[in-house]
């Protein structure tokens, strides 16, 4: 592309520049970018909150902040990261951008509802931010009753309202994806020819649709109890505070699969492209996404083994939790097998994929400690749990998100970033992450409970290691912000398909035109047809 060209090609970014054209867009690609900005802002907020927590934990005493403030910090860190970053992240950014393109459609089924979902997200986020700056909330992101419903004197209702509203954003996105994937696939694109990214988002959307309403009603009940004094969770009025936990975890356990399944979808795309090979066991990887979605609804009681839940219920939930671990293991084995006799290129997205495979494996296996009844009794409510879920959420979900962002960045922006810097940042992230969270497994087994701003002095060394790691981790997140932003101004033009990947999204120019395809593609091959003589061209 030379400067002497008469007129730059029109695409979704430059077709219109006004603020109105962005805020009232119905183009799924622009909405994806709106979400990118929002979730990045909340990620930074969540990260700053985490930084403050780790700073305080450098010493056994409360010297940076007092108890009340610390309790608000960890609550808000959890709420921000889960509801305003992790749950939307891949679906709302990469899913929105890619689902229509990967299936050969011009947009999602309901573009206006897509835009609505972003506004709903923003409204909910607004309420939550107001709650944070006008005093904060200190119930923990888990809002356990009766503390949250009766005893806390912080902005519980306001925060609950914010989370309630944002939940609808999730539901709307899920609805859109399910209908789009069912009804708008290009001719010839049968279910078993779909990219695994689509399967993952389909399974995720099912969870979003079925699970989110339950937490919506649960939060509503807590707000009603707090505001009107009704006694559904109040033992003084005959209520049962543990009922809250059942209702809460019925959503919040499947929610963790909302956070990891899309990342697994990204993984399939990355491993296939950078091994230049079909995903080994495609049917099993697709099926495992569905199995995780279904089984994920049956295990919520494993958060409640010591809650006074019956011993027999505990045994059933433990057994089911072991079952739900198997499909995830199957995926990891299939990705590894895909690399066998492949053509492995160690570009930035692939490094993130490697990070995912390793860290998700550790995270998933440490989940077994928690699924095992006898060991869970010891480590429930300790830093072991904190380490476990950060391995999955950061080592797994966020690595997948970063890998996906780096993979599709050229498609979304039309620009290449510095692969060298990308790889440096990925390695820094990996090192920083492990230094932050590996010591926490030990801390948990030693007995350090979570949500403690002060602790016995013998735990200090491990806490210092963890905080040191957090600093490196922060650096690992900062560097991509810099070179990705830089690429927008100075990056090389990307071309249609810089990675030589298969997939309909790579058949379009980068950035793509507003309606994605000049004519609807026709699909005649399986996904990841890397061994065809052409470079995976279809349609």
């Amino acid at each position: 592309m030379t400067d002497a060209a008469p007129e730059p090609r029109k695409h979704y970014l430059n077709c219109e520049y006004s603020v109105r054209s962005w805020l009232l867009t119905t183009d799924h690609k622009r909405i994806a970018l709106l979400y990118l900005v929002s979730i990045s802002a909340f990620f930074m907020l969540g990260g700053i909150l985490a930084g403050l927590l780790r700073l305080e934990l450098l010493t056994p005493q409360a010297d940076l902040v007092q108890a009340e403030t610390y309790n608000k910090l960890f609550t808000m860190h959890g709420i921000t990261m889960i509801f305003f970053f992790l749950i939307p992240s891949i679906p709302a950014v990469l899913g929105n951008f890619l689902v229509p393109m990967m299936i050969g459609a011009r947009d999602l089924a309901f573009p206006k509802i897509n835009l609505l979902s972003w506004y709903v997200y923003t409204l909910g986020a607004g309420f939550t931010v107001v709650a944070m700056v006008t005093g904060g909330v200190d119930t923990g992101w888990t809002f356990y009753t009766p503390y949250s419903s009766t005893y806390a004197n912080t902005n519980v209702i306001l925060t609950a309202l914010g989370v309630f509203i944002t939940g609808f954003s999730s539901i709307l996105t899920g609805l859109n994806f399910v209908v789009t994937i069912h009804k708008m696939r290009a001719p010839g694109l049968t279910w078993f020819r779909l990219p695994l990214f689509i399967w993952a988002h389909y399974a995720t959307s099912l969870i979003m649709i079925l699970g989110t309403p339950v937490i919506a009603i649960t939060i509503l009940l807590v707000a009603l109890e707090r505001g009107l004094g009704i006694g559904i969770f109040d033992p003084n009025l005959g209520g049962d505070p543990v009922l809250f936990q059942h209702l809460f975890w019925f959503y919040s356990h499947p929610a963790v699969y909302i956070m990891i399944l899309p990342s697994m979808g990204v993984m399939s795309e990355l491993v296939a492209c950078f091994s230049r090979k079909r995903i080994f066991g495609y049917n099993f990887v697709a099926g495992s996404s569905m199995a995780i979605a279904i089984l994920g609804f049956l295990v919520w009681g494993h958060h409640m083994f010591v809650s006074s839940q019956s011993m027999y219920a505990g045994i059933i939930f433990s057994l089911l939790s072991f079952l739900v671990a198997v499909p995830s293991a199957v995926k990891v084995f299939n990705w590894t097998a895909t690399m066998y006799k492949g053509s492995i290129a160690l570009r930035t997205p692939m490094l993130y994929a490697f990070g995912f495979v390793g860290l998700f494996t550790i995270g998933g296996l440490t989940g077994l400690f928690l699924a095992t009844l006898a060991t869970d009794v010891h480590v429930h409510g300790t830093y072991f749990v904190v380490a476990h879920f950060h391995y999955i959420m950061v080592g797994g979900a966020i690595m997948g998100y970063m890998g996906g962002l780096h993979f599709w960045w050229p498609k979304m922006t039309g620009r290449l970033y510095s692969d060298a810097w990308g790889r440096v940042a990925a390695v820094i992230l990996f090192v920083g992450f492990n230094l932050t969270f590996l010591p926490q497994f030990v801390l948990g087994f030693l007995g350090m409970p979570r949500r403690y701003h002060v602790y016995p002095p013998e735990f200090q060394m491990l806490n210092v290691l963890s905080t040191a790691g957090a600093t490196i981790l922060g650096l690992g997140y900062l560097i991509p912000v810099l070179y990705l932003l830089w690429s927008l101004f100075k990056g090389q033009p990307a071309g249609d398909n810089p990675w030589g990947a298969t997939g309909l999204e790579w058949q379009t120019p980068s950035p793509p035109p507003t309606f994605n395809f000049d004519k609807t593609p026709v699909v005649t091959e399986e996904a990841y047809a890397y061994d065809s003589s052409s470079e995976g061209h279809r349609g």
Partner: protein, 215 residues
């Protein structure tokens, strides 16, 4: 690119795809509503197990006559809604206006009767909270019953209000002649929603007014 008539949105290939997508979308949305109400029903059933007598007492304070009338009204409104959808499918503007209008009226009657019931409960001090007063030994647990009663019928009523708003918007569009044999999807999809809200009541009424009563 296919020639699009004015009512087929740009992302769809043709009106069949649009119709199928819209219908599937509404069914999926109704699934979320089942989970939403399901949470409330689940909580209710957990509590009735341990507080059967208290819930029976509470249930006996509900006006079964008004509840029955409301059930008939709502069922009637589902009939008029189905007729409205049929009129839309046939492109009969007058039928659409008549039946949409009747549905709105019947829905409003339902809400009015519900409001009457709520007013009665206020007067009888049966609203949960500091002002709750009920005679008999089971007052404390009965308050739980009323918490569920108000939460469940309140959320249902909210859905009715949204439904009536939806129908009013449909009425305006029908007036403008928007719905014909070629394009009636919004009416049909709204019909699905309306029937669903009716079905929820079909579960609510026996659960709160009839089953609980017998302890």
């Amino acid at each position: 690119m296919a020639e699009h008539s004015s009512h087929v949105a740009h992302q769809f290939d043709d009106s069949t795809q649009q119709y199928e997508a819209s219908t599937l979308g509404m069914w999926a949305f109704l699934l979320t509503e089942i989970m939403f109400f399901g949470g409330l029903f689940a909580g209710f059933f957990v509590y009735i197990l341990g507080h059967a007598q208290a819930f029976a007492e509470g249930s006996r304070h509900l006006d079964i006559a008004l509840g029955t009338v409301n059930t008939v009204v709502l069922l009637g409104s589902s009939l008029t809604m189905a007729l409205a959808v049929r009129s839309a499918q046939q492109g009969h503007r007058n039928g659409q206006l008549l039946f949409l209008g009747l549905t709105v009226i019947l829905g409003s009657v339902f809400l009015g009767i519900k409001g009457l019931e709520y007013a009665h409960k206020f007067a009888q001090h049966l609203v949960p909270g500091p002002g709750f007063r009920m005679e008999g030994p089971h007052a404390q647990s009965a308050q739980l019953f009323f918490s569920f009663y108000f939460a469940m019928t309140g959320v249902h009523a909210l859905h009715m209000v949204v439904g009536i708003g939806l129908l009013a918007w449909l009425f305006v569009n029908a007036w403008r002649g928007k719905y014909t044999e070629a394009y009636f999807t919004p009416v049909e999809v709204s019909g699905l929603y309306w029937h669903f809200v009716d079905v929820v009541w079909i579960f609510l009424f026996p659960t709160l007014y009839l089953v609980a009563r017998h302890g």
